[in-house]
């Protein structure tokens, strides 16, 4: 009887010590992403860049459901790098008020991450995916409206449509309305994000909140109004990496550094459009982009 229990205990101890080891990824890098198109594209880009330049196996763990999940995953070492936005990192994860320009926000996020979490940021990828107030192209041209301040004068004649989160977040609609003195004819309608662009096109609403890099902006001839009072914080896309990964694989940091500043707002919109509207494979879109930029080998098939 005693021997039986001793065996059981030994088994349990073995099992525990096995499980006690934190997950480590010898010789491979795990890239995560959130669950929307732009995030996959960036995740895929990071993955392909590392594969090409760092000679490491890359595992992709995309579709993680949001900043919190990604943060937990990277803290626990389940993923090694994922694309985040500086503004989101500042407000949602560091829980600090969003103010300051691009450079200041980037530096603040970087130093806090390094101090508190053992994470660091690669250089910003080049575009600012901030909130964009969109109006129809025809209205923009006819009324000669380019900025939000100009739009604010016309707001009483317009109907607005926003997503639920934008309406509720204090740094969303409430703050925006205060900053620009926006007053619409009626309460803005709350709609599903996917339907906003359509509704705008179909004249059901005259102004919608979207993202600056929405693929549908060029496709549907929409115009993003300029945030001339700089109400929205910068949302620069950056790769967040574990310091441990950088230490073990410095070639990863170098590979990511090469991506710095390579994607403009326009280029990001184009890639989003190709994946969302044209339903092209993310991997192909990303590979073509990297080839075009000379970051990976191979000729761009579309150049004559």
């Amino acid at each position: 009887m005693k021997h039986f229990w001793r065996k059981v205990c030994a088994l349990v101890v073995c099992a525990c010590s096995l499980l006690g080891c934190a997950p480590s990824h010898p010789g491979r890098v795990v890239v995560g992403s959130k669950n929307f198109t732009e995030s996959f594209i960036l995740g895929e880009m990071i993955a392909q860049q590392i594969e090409a330049h760092a000679n490491l196996r890359v595992e992709r763990r995309f579709y993680l459901a949001g900043s919190y999940i990604c943060q937990q995953a990277i803290l626990a070492g389940r993923i090694d790098v994922y694309p985040e936005y500086t503004g989101t990192a500042l407000t949602a994860i560091l829980k600090q008020p969003a103010n300051g320009d691009k450079e200041a926000v980037y530096q603040r996020v970087k130093s806090e991450y390094e101090q508190r979490f053992g994470l660091t940021l690669g250089p910003a990828l080049g575009f600012n995916d901030t909130f964009a107030m969109e109006i129809r192209g025809e209205d923009a041209r006819r009324l000669n409206v380019k900025t939000l301040s100009e739009a604010a004068r016309l707001a009483p004649q317009w109907r607005a449509g926003f997503g639920y989160e934008f309406m509720e977040r204090p740094d969303g609609y409430p703050g925006l309305a205060a900053a620009y003195g926006l007053h619409f004819a009626e309460q803005p309608r709350i709609m599903d994000l996917g339907l906003l662009a359509r509704a705008l096109k179909d004249h059901q609403i005259d102004l919608a909140a979207g993202n600056a890099t929405d693929g549908l902006i060029p496709a549907l001839d929409l115009v993003a109004l300029e945030d001339d009072r700089h109400y929205f914080p910068p949302y620069e896309a950056v790769p967040v990496i574990r310091e441990q990964t950088v230490a073990q694989h410095p070639e990863v940091a170098r590979a990511l550094a090469e991506l710095g500043g390579k994607i403009s707002d326009e280029e990001m919109r184009q890639m989003n459009y190709e994946v969302d509207a044209q339903h092209r494979d993310t991997r192909d879109v990303v590979r073509e982009f990297l080839q075009r930029k000379g970051l990976i080998a191979g000729t761009d098939p579309s150049t004559p």
């Binding site: 491979r28 763990r61 579709y63 459901a65 626990a76």
Partner: protein, 210 residues
């Protein structure tokens, strides 16, 4: 089959997530046993505490798991890391079956045996370790078995708050609308539950009096 091929191609990830899942379930079941068995022994001997303790454990069980995860998120040290949080929540959920079965197991020991033991001059501690616990062990293990199986299921929900484990496959698969990924999480989870049930059940049977 597609799922099998997917799991083989991604075996490193499947293995990693399975181990994570086992860690969540293992640690929480272990902690729940550490807390629950002594509590069960206590209330079996002090009947007055019986109702409040069982009622407390019952209330915890009725809170929907996702809600419990949500409540605990703002807590300072715990909420910072969701696997800590998940382990705490899973431990809380495992308490009721363990406490209750320990209580029932000990109360089920034949009163004549206890009287004889006491009359012969055994101390309460000797009675507890040499008579009550060995005789109640099968029932206690049954409670631990139920707790472990429940934990395997609940741990899949823990992925919703970022604690990892096989639930991550399920949630990602749902977002991707990809069955293979969903099943790559669901199938191992089901197998784990069956394994837990079977292995603890085997221990139970060995210890049950013929």
């Amino acid at each position: 089959m597609n799922v099998i091929r997917f799991m083989v191609e991604n075996q490193a990830q499947v293995l990693e997530l399975t181990l994570e899942h086992l860690w969540l379930v293992g640690v929480s079941t272990f902690l729940a046993t550490l807390i629950g068995v002594p509590l069960g022994i206590l209330i079996a001997h002090r009947r007055q505490l019986n109702r409040p303790v069982l009622a407390g454990a019952n209330i915890i069980q009725t809170i929907p798991s996702l809600a419990l995860f949500g409540f605990l998120l703002p807590v300072p040290w715990l909420g910072a890391r969701s696997d800590r949080l998940a382990i705490l929540a899973l431990t809380l959920y495992a308490l009721l079956p363990i406490i209750r079965n320990t209580y029932e197991g000990i109360r089920g020991v034949d009163a004549a045996v206890l009287e004889a033991g006491r009359g012969m001059g055994m101390t309460e501690v000797q009675l507890l370790f040499q008579v009550e616990l060995p005789l109640a062990m099968s029932v206690i293990l049954s409670g631990i078995r139920v707790a472990a199986v429940i934990s395997v299921g609940l741990a899949t929900i823990a992925a919703a708050i970022g604690a990892g484990g096989l639930g991550e496959f399920i949630f990602r698969g749902l977002a991707m609308v990809d069955d293979r990924v969903i099943l790559a999480g669901a199938i191992p989870a089901a197998i784990l539950a069956l394994l837990a049930d079977f292995s603890v059940g085997w221990l139970e049977r060995r210890l049950r009096l013929r």
